[in-house]
Each structure stands twice: as structure tokens, then as C-alpha cells.
């Protein structure tokens, strides 16, 4: 570890990509890492998608500007493993087996549950069917186009589970949004911090850690995970195999999976995301229990999409989403 630190300090720089500072506490994570090791972090294209990350790795391959590490959605990670270098962090055993590639070519890092965030001016929302009512005119938005953005796809899938669908077919979720559109309640404006602050999108389907008042920047904001529709999703870390700062990249991973009080796992937790080592940290007592207690409550057995289920959902959406909502 001390050798790794020395080598990383010698490289002096780390290129990261698609990490918005308010997303899962990344602003603090980057500055903590940078201060702790004296390594400069270049954060490129903070608003990019996972696919943009992979495109950057390919297009900037071999240059000093190429991303060294990726924080990437599983659908994109699994089809691009040839771009990544396997690496097992020292806390490897704390990551559940189902949440990492056996070689360490990708390792899930943090995640959350799909939730409905809403302005408290609507009172308390306890079921999705309320959203079809007249007071939600033009109010309900996804976070992007579900044929492009993973969070939006999962938003539709969550509605699908509420409507009695299974993870194998997203059709009932599309039908729900079709009803929402017919009722005039679907807002085509994609939700961002700006639209939420302006009140343009007062109801948003998004991951719970992106639906926190601290993330969206308004205080009168509530989060609701529908009972029986706990749809989880995790992002994964991967190292660019041609990274121009290979030691800094590995040190960054060590930092992100560190269970220390100011390590990545607890910092993600403070950002409202559920770190992948949460269970292990709860049992060994290293978890920030104040932050853990603040997470939105979730009931029922969580559902995680398999790769096949995610692909089926995407294929169905590409053929039916625009038709249903357009």
C-alpha cells in the first residue's frame, strides 16, 4: 500500500469522468482524496453518461487526457470489460460475491433504490396511483429518456413493479406512463436540479440518493419508495487498462472502497447512496450510523435487474416508448 501511495504521488494526477459534484457526494470524495494524497484530480464531462465514459476511453486511448477510472452503469460495464484492468482492492472480501466480477475487472461501488421525489406542496404521497390525479398536471418527470438513461429505464421498471408487472417485462410500466400522459400529468421536461428548483418538475422518478433535498437543492422535497417495488441498482468501478496514471487509478479504488471514517464508502453513505460494503461495515462497526439511519426506508424484497432483464426492457422501450408517450 505504501508503495502504491508513493507511485501514485509520483504520477501526481488522476483523470476521472462523469462525476457530478453533488452526485453521491462526489465533490467531497474528490477533494478528500486530493488533499489526503496530494494528487490533482481532473474531472471531465461531469454530466456525461456511462456510454460517454466508454466513448472517451476509446477515443482518447493512449493520451494523457484519457479517463483513468470509470464509475459506470452495469449495462455498459458488462459489454466493455475488454477495456478494463482487473484489480482487487484490499477490502475485496467485504464486497458481496454477486456484486463483483471474480477477476475484479469491475466491482460494484454504491447504489440505491428507485424512488419518487416530490415537492412537499403535494402533501404526502403513499401510492403511485395518486400521481394520476388532477393536482399533478404536467408535474411528473423521469430523469431522461429511458432508451438512453439507466435511471429513467429503472423509473419505468419501478412503475411496472407497482402495477403488478415482473422484472422480465416492462410493458406495464410503459402502460402506466401512457396513462400518466393521457391524464396530462407527464412532464416531458427532463428533471435536473434547475428544473426542480424552478418548480417545473415537482415530481421526479430517480434513484433515492439523487432525490435527496441536499442533491436537488430544495428543502421542501420528500422521497418515497413504493412498498413492494424496491428496485435496486448499483454502479460499478472499473480501471482503464491503458490508464496513463495506473497507480493513481488503483489508489483511487483503494480510497473508494476504504471503510475508514473519511473513506469512500462512508462518504458515499453521507451522500445518501448505499455503499457496496454496507453490510460488512454494519457488522464490523465502521459504518457511519447517523448517515445510515437517514436513508429512506425500503420495504419488501429488493429486486435487482439481471443483464437479460435489463436488455429485454431496453429492447421493449426502443420499440414502444416513443409510440406510447409521443
Amino acid at each position: 500500500m505504501s508503495k502504491l501511495v508513493a507511485a501514485a504521488k509520483k504520477e501526481g494526477t488522476l483523470n476521472v469522468i462523469a462525476l457530478p459534484p453533488t452526485w453521491a457526494n462526489y465533490g467531497t470524495i474528490i477533494s478528500t482524496f486530493s488533499k489526503m494524497y496530494g494528487i490533482k484530480v481532473n474531472s471531465a464531462n461531469p454530466a456525461g453518461t456511462s456510454q460517454d465514459e466508454v466513448n472517451a476511453v476509446k477515443q482518447e486511448n493512449g493520451t494523457a487526457a484519457a479517463p483513468d477510472v470509470l464509475d459506470i452503469g452495469m449495462a455498459v460495464a458488462l459489454v466493455n470489460t475488454n477495456l478494463f484492468a482487473p484489480y482487487q482492492v484490499s477490502s475485496w472480501s467485504s464486497v458481496p460475491a454477486a456484486q463483483k466480477a471474480p477477476s475484479g475487472v469491475w466491482v460494484q461501488d454504491y447504489g440505491g433504490y428507485m424512488a419518487v421525489g416530490y415537492s412537499s406542496k403535494f402533501g404526502t404521497i403513499t401510492s403511485l396511483s395518486q400521481l394520476l390525479g388532477p393536482k399533478f398536471k404536467n408535474a411528473v418527470a423521469l430523469n431522461g429518456n429511458p432508451t438512453a438513461a439507466n435511471a429513467a429505464l429503472n423509473g419505468v421498471m419501478m412503475a411496472n413493479l407497482v402495477e403488478g408487472g415482473t422484472a422480465d417485462s416492462i410493458a406495464k410500466g410503459v402502460a402506466f406512463f401512457q396513462k400518466l400522459k393521457a391524464a396530462g400529468n407527464f412532464s416531458p421536461v427532463s428533471a435536473t436540479g434547475a428544473t426542480i428548483k424552478a418548480g417545473t418538475t415537482p415530481v421526479v422518478f430517480n434513484w433515492d440518493y439523487l432525490n435527496l433535498p441536499s442533491y436537488v437543492g430544495v428543502s421542501n422535497w420528500k422521497v418515497f419508495v413504493p412498498p413492494g417495488a424496491a428496485l435496486g441498482g448499483y454502479y460499478a468501478q472499473a480501471i482503464n487498462k491503458n490508464a496513463s496514471h495506473p497507480a493513481a487509478a488503483r489508489l483511487w479504488e483503494e480510497f473508494l472502497y476504504s471503510q475508514a471514517a473519511t473513506g469512500g464508502q462512508n462518504l458515499w453513505l453521507e451522500g445518501g447512496a448505499r455503499p457496496v460494503e454496507q453490510a460488512a461495515m454494519a457488522s464490523n462497526g465502521s459504518i457511519n450510523s447517523t448517515a445510515a439511519a437517514k436513508l429512506p426506508s425500503v420495504s419488501g424484497t429488493p429486486v435487482f435487474l439481471t443483464q437479460t432483464q435489463a436488455t429485454n426492457a431496453a429492447t421493449y422501450l426502443s420499440a414502444n416508448w416513443a409510440k406510447a408517450i409521443g
Binding site: 453518461t49 456510454q51 449495462a75 421536461v189 424552478a198 418548480g199 435489463a310 426492457a313 431496453a314 409521443g326
Partner: protein
């Protein structure tokens, strides 16, 4: 230019009175180089990629994608949006241009309108979309929270018209200025009414310029992306939006080949439209100069 540079550097001419022989086309090299790097090269790359299969070989399968109902939907969406916004923009812009042109040619009103048009024709993108959302969206106190504003294409067309009208004023004003007062006087002295003047003289003279400018507005709307993306991005209605989806989808639907094919489709649309524009401009310049 070549002459100027020799005198500036103070190099003595080889023989007095003789010019340095530099071909005239040399002056176009920077322009052509720029066009080559930023227009022809990218177009070539897009064409190349559109016919490249995922394994690297030559394929026509991308073109068959152009025939699928989903892809046709994006082109129809783009087409509707461009037609509506360019026709409304052209008609209103032409009326405004005529009103301004019939005033004092050196007056403050004309200067004000031309300057404002120059600025507003470039006012687009996220700022413009947000300005409209704030004005007629759900949180505004104004205009009864228009719900049709969220429907495609009329809602976004309304926003596009905002930059189409000023552009029309800018491109159509020279044509109106080209109408000679003498033509109107000749018409009147022969007993022609205002209607007859516009029906037989002014209208036919301005028609090619008007149609040409409409086509320019059409192309302008076709390529607009940031404005519609800020207005809505949960469904791809237009070709540029679908290109974005095809390039950056993170749910497994990314397909660079599809993006290139769609881009080729747009290139074809622009070539058709701009060819029409050039032909109409040529026709228009026969009289109006």
C-alpha cells in the same frame, strides 16, 4: 493581399513595376482548408461509418434502418417541426421586415430592429427553452399554464419561431430593399391598384427570395438540438435527439452505426434544401439588385 505583404515586409521588388506572381486562388486556401477540416472531413467520416458494419466491413444494413418505422418517425418529427416553425417564422418575419423596410431607411426604428434581430436570431438553446418554460410552464402565473405547450410539435415550434422570425428579418430585408419605388410608381401611373401591384409585380419578384429564405429557416430548425433537448428529452421526437440517444445510450441501445446513418439522412435533407435555396437565390437576384 500578396502585394500588400511584400510592401509591408519591405522586400525590394526584383524589378520595378513587376508584380510578384501569386495565383489568385491562393487567397481562398485558408477558407477551403477550414471547410475541408470542419465540414468535408466530418461528412466523409459520417458517410464512411454509415456503411461500416460492426466488424469493420462494408455493409448496406444501416441504410435499411432508415426504412424502419421508428426511424421514419424521427424524420417525420423533424420535418413537421421544421415546416411549422419555418413557415410561421417566414410569414411573420416577412411582414415584420416589410414594415421595417417601408420606414425611414436611416431611421432609429430600422437600426433598432436589425440590431435586435441580429441578437435574437442567435438566442436559442437551453436559455431560450427555460425562458419559455418559466413564462408558460406550470410554475408561471401567466397564460393559464398552457398544456398544449408540452405537445409536439406545436409547443417546441412556438419556441423555435422565436429565433426564426429575427433570422427571416435579416435574410429577407435585402430582397425588400431591392424593390424599386419606380416599379410601384409605374404600376400606379398605369392605373394599377395595390392588389394588382402585389399580384403581378411585387409578389412574383419577392417569391423566390421568400421561398429561399423559408428553406434557410427550415435548415436552421433542422439542426437545432439544445433547445428541444432542454424543452423535453424523455422521448426522441427529432433526428438530432435520436442521434444523441444512439451515441450515448447507457442501457445497451447505443449504436454508433445508427447515429451515422441518421446523420447521413440529415445531410441528404440539408443538401436538398440548400440546393433549392441556392437555385431560388439565383432566380431572386435576377431582378432584385
Amino acid at each position: 493581399m500578396a502585394v500588400a505583404s511584400t510592401t509591408e515586409t519591405g522586400a525590394p521588388p526584383v524589378r520595378a513595376g513587376r508584380r510578384l506572381r501569386v495565383p489568385a486562388w491562393i487567397g481562398t486556401v485558408p477558407f477551403l482548408g477550414y471547410i475541408g477540416v470542419f465540414l468535408l472531413l466530418p461528412t466523409g467520416i459520417v458517410l464512411y461509418k454509415a456503411f461500416q458494419s460492426s466488424s469493420g466491413g462494408f455493409t448496406l444494413s444501416g441504410l435499411t434502418a432508415l426504412g424502419s418505422s421508428a426511424v421514419r418517425g424521427y424524420f417525420i418529427g423533424s420535418f413537421k417541426l421544421c415546416v411549422i416553425s419555418s413557415v410561421i417564422g417566414a410569414v411573420l418575419g416577412a411582414i415584420l421586415a416589410y414594415a421595417v423596410a417601408s420606414g425611414n431607411p436611416d431611421g432609429a426604428v430600422r437600426r433598432l430592429y436589425l440590431a435586435a434581430s441580429g441578437v435574437l436570431a442567435q438566442f436559442g438553446g437551453v436559455t431560450l427553452a427555460f425562458a419559455f418554460l418559466a413564462t408558460v410552464g406550470p410554475t408561471s402565473g401567466l397564460l393559464l399554464h398552457l398544456s398544449w405547450f408540452y405537445d409536439f410539435p406545436q409547443g417546441i415550434a412556438l419556441i423555435y419561431v422565436y429565433f426564426q422570425i429575427p433570422l427571416m428579418v435579416l435574410v429577407f430585408m435585402p430582397a425588400i430593399d431591392g424593390l424599386k419605388v419606380q416599379w410601384r410608381e409605374a404600376c400606379e401611373s398605369l392605373g394599377g391598384s395595390a392588389w394588382q401591384y402585389w399580384r403581378h409585380v411585387g409578389g412574383p419578384l419577392l417569391a423566390p427570395a421568400f421561398l429561399g429564405a423559408t428553406l434557410l429557416l427550415f435548415a436552421n430548425a433542422l439542426s437545432a438540438f439544445a433547445t428541444i433537448e432542454a424543452w423535453e428529452n424523455q422521448i426522441a421526437y427529432t433526428v438530432p435527439q435520436q442521434i444523441s440517444t444512439a451515441l450515448s445510450s447507457e442501457v445497451g441501445l447505443n449504436n454508433a452505426n445508427e447515429a451515422s446513418v441518421l446523420a447521413v439522412g440529415m445531410v441528404i435533407m440539408v443538401v436538398v434544401v440548400m440546393t433549392g435555396y441556392v437555385l431560388l437565390q439565383r432566380r431572386a437576384s435576377r431582378w432584385l439588385h
